[in-house]
Symmetry: D2
Subunit: 338 residues, 4 copies
């Protein structure tokens, strides 16, 4: 249950912690206190009287809920503000292939407005015999390339044992779709203070995604963003996955974490990446994460879905234009109206 208090009623907050802290999870956000597993009847008179509002239907992912934390989370990294009124472009190669190559891709990304450089050094491949990434060397190249262009690094960590090592190089952890419910890994990144991009699993419901964020938040890390990268449906002949663009406004209603669109994995084919990316922007996403490559035919992985530099420029220009157009109209009012 969530107890909403008057601003700065520190006394009741301390009372509630003392009262319930030993036996229950208690979370505090400003003037809101969430106590897991109690009902209004468990409150004492003083607590009940101090309450401005009692919210008893609370989702399992309470810390991620707008009911507990109404305002947007804005994640601050060295070079980016992600969430709220901001729009963030993130781009880079699927795999880090070499220092020279990732540096070149960083320059393309940066030139088109990206502040985050993505790239994989540990790759979750369907077959154990496929290229598995350059490992720590890849992370070093990625870091160097990002630093050269004053960008943040976004890269996948696949394993809780690797969290410490990857943390040395990255500004944002990516948790891949296949690991969305790898709870050991979620707990491990939850103990760091490095922002996390959690990719929605291929068949994860909205509630599943929110519960997965809570595994991170439970460790104390609230710098979480959620990425939609397409779900699995009955039709995958022409696109790799089905992009569920509706999840953008749905998640924005339910949670305060920024929602990012990954049109590359959703589309799976270059020709569909731009329309899907623009659809995500028009639906209100806080950013895009896009795979780019100057020579897709020879990419180490996922070449079929990588945009070439000029294609990425087209997407980026239109994406920023749509975002600007929507921002100049009263979008925020609508949101408040929900």
């Amino acid at each position: 249950m969530i107890i909403v208090l008057n601003q700065n009623d520190q006394t009741t907050i301390e009372n509630l912690k003392r009262h319930f802290g030993a036996d229950h999870d208690v979370f505090v956000h400003q003037n809101r206190v969430a106590v897991q597993g109690i009902t209004a009847e468990d409150l004492d008179d003083a607590e009940r009287q101090a309450a401005v509002e009692l919210i008893d239907q609370v989702p399992a992912a309470v810390q991620g809920s707008r009911l507990f934390h109404p305002e947007d989370t804005v994640i601050k990294t060295k070079h980016s503000l992600i969430g709220g009124a901001n729009f963030s472009m993130m781009a880079g190669p699927c795999s880090v292939e070499s220092l020279a190559h990732v540096t070149k891709m960083a320059s393309v990304a940066k030139a088109n407005g990206a502040t985050v450089l993505r790239g994989g050094a540990f790759k979750p491949r369907t077959s154990p015999y496929s290229f598995q990434g350059l490992g720590e060397d890849g992370l070093k190249y990625l870091r160097q390339a990002a630093d050269k262009y004053d960008m943040d690094v976004l890269t996948e960590v696949m394993d809780d044992e690797h969290v410490e090592m990857v943390a040395k190089y990255t500004d944002i952890f990516q948790i891949g779709a296949r690991n969305m419910q790898n709870f050991s890994l979620l707990k491990a990144v939850g103990k760091t203070n490095i922002p996390v991009m959690l990719k929605r699993g291929m068949s994860a419901t909205v509630d599943d995604v929110l519960n997965a964020t809570e595994y991170i938040a439970a460790g104390g890390n609230h710098n979480i963003m959620i990425a939609e990268r397409g779900i699995r449906t009955f039709d995958n002949k022409y696109t790799r996955n089905t992009m569920d663009v509706g999840v953008v406004p749905v998640l924005q209603k339910l949670t305060h974490y920024p929602v990012i669109i990954d049109p590359s994995h959703a589309a799976g084919h270059t020709e569909f990446v731009t329309p899907l990316g623009l659809a995500g922007v028009a639906a209100g996403a806080s950013g895009l994460v896009v795979e780019i490559h100057d020579d897709p035919a020879h990419a180490f992985s996922d070449g079929a879905q990588a945009l070439k530099p000029d294609e990425f420029k087209t997407l980026a220009d239109k994406a920023f234009a749509i975002r600007e157009l929507l921002a100049s109209q009263p979008v925020q009012q609508e949101k408040a109206g929900r």
Copy 2:
């Protein structure tokens, strides 16, 4: 197989018809001749020499294919141009409720740029005990309301026996999602020359949709548009269906028929209709079809997803703005580049 000829090579067209017409379906579009069920070896020497190009991998839905008909279909009704470079807004109540009400909704639709008035007089309801529509009276009201505001009528026909009667009132037939593979009905509207909006079935693949269009085209009616209204997936807790926005560029690549987005049925809840509609526009849809109501709480059907007039104004304004923004950039070139 498709035989591409020189422009105006009427002689070879006639030869091909004579040669294959008795035993095969033969379709002609400008300088392209499709003959079902033959291979290059079945052509005689003169035919083979006259061919500029031979295309042997042809989808079952040949008349709908870009391979047979490369340029966009533009549907002309009295008040609308649908497809190609045009953008069409279509709006109205889910059910026609009364003459006064549908007329009021027509004025709202028209004031915000709609040229097509939608409204249901025969309703395909999940339960036989739910409101089934006003029937022919509803059609009369709809026609009157549309005429008053110089709009086209779009309404559902559920039954091949009703085609003739509905044809007296409508400018565009709607085939509902549940009837997408009601082949008797598809054949019946295929014998008219009234444009048809075919709604994608809840679990219809892209190929299923294209094959369904072919049932209409086989009857001689080529004024077909396809509407995406959300598909059925594993997650329908927060939205009624999952809008598959990726189908817009996929269909535009494969077929020349206009693709329309119905964000109302996809969302199922008012608050998500506008982001979904805008996503559809940004992905390149040729139009939107939107349910509106001035008093959704008392709508005869589907009130939960109807936009109120001011909400519809917001959607329409932004939709036209995004379309204009994209049109002023080189969208067509991209398409050609595919």
Copy 3:
């Protein structure tokens, strides 16, 4: 709401009909009266006192519900008893191809315990250019073949205009999966007294299926059976559809109509038909409907999934053996225990 009365309380039944019949749908089954759209407060004192039990949470498909009709429906045709403790084998070719061929298939079906001969004369094909069936001639052949072996005929009707004609030849109408929500067709067969096999649509939920049965029951025809033939999921590489065997006990709990398994369309490939059919029997299905062909490679349609006579014999022998094994154990008690 359902009002359960004492046995033979005809007086209250008549009272309820008089009281509510003008404004509400009222259905009576033995000592149970269902009145749509009322609550307990709408009953008068006498009615309330006469009630043994009031059930207010009633599914939309009330006549199909076990709450309204607790005992199993057993459908009686000339040669078969379908439902209840009975087990029915139905088999035949996908398409009726000729009198000779369908007669041969009837002999195979009969020899292995089938009492129902299936065969398509009107075929719902994905493409309009595929073989569409022999039409009324096919029906005649099917009827002759069935009569020769004292079997019932089961054949698809695709169109409400055809109901009368097909009725002249068939003992059981089949409504195909694509037409499961073709409400005009459902209403048309609902006005006959010929049993109906309703095939579950590819993406129909259990509630959708039950609501579709209600369109038939609403017309007065209660001789309904439901066939599971596989649903559409994300994986259709090795089987044509995903057989949802769990729907057998789920439907048996919710409805009194017999549930039949169609392993042929679920599997799509001969080698998987037998295991799927046996799974259906073990789950408690009231029967199987199986496609058979003596020369599958040259079948007019769906040859890939047709069992050859010796394969069908294996399936049928094992199916009857499993059914017998389960029947000799206390299956009914379990059911009662639910």
Copy 4:
């Protein structure tokens, strides 16, 4: 590609290893050699002449393929034979709750033919605030209970860091559905020689499952069984998941690993567990893994789907009876015929 040699042609096996071993993955099973990433043209004349057969279309999961390893894998544990002509019953509580409780459940399992005792000590719960299992204490209780009744232990390992510790107590590792593509974990259990039950992910295709087994096999551990526990589809109102019973014969065709059915997670509700379990047996599964509890209402987790002892007895008796019935008929011949 797979090169099939004469029996005991050790010379060519050694040649192939020498020739390709440095640059390619080379696997040998009896007289079959799989070399990843080569074509027939890469073989030298002697190799080509020695080959009895060359198979060039090989799935990514080559070691799991019947093409590489035609005969069934039979897994031997201290108390069980799993796969081939054997049928294995595995049962136990969802969570280990106490030594006394798991011991009681072991006695129930054993009394009804189970040779494997399942129980969770580390639980992958959707919410971080749910019961997460007793941890290593739970493993100790489970081991003691199994030893008392001469049973094998089956328990989930969620984390590669735990593999060594869990290995001290278990006879079979379970990899949960959510971790099916946790490649770090798969590699970790692949380095042990303890049998692994890999549960199919909720939206994993057959190819995904096979590729996941290959991550285990690539480490040298070939004692793998695959468990179907239901997939995610559009309908989960009445069952927790949709049991894909068709995967049993499909997997048996493609791979030599035993296929086990978990009807408990598929059903999600006690009343549907038995029909689903029997369906799995009838489809040919090599075993069942079933959740049991003597007081489901107070189970620490998943009580809704736990069978009570007498319900489990009914399932087990019927399951063994169906298996026996099918075995006494020529099942093996069919398999060979595929």
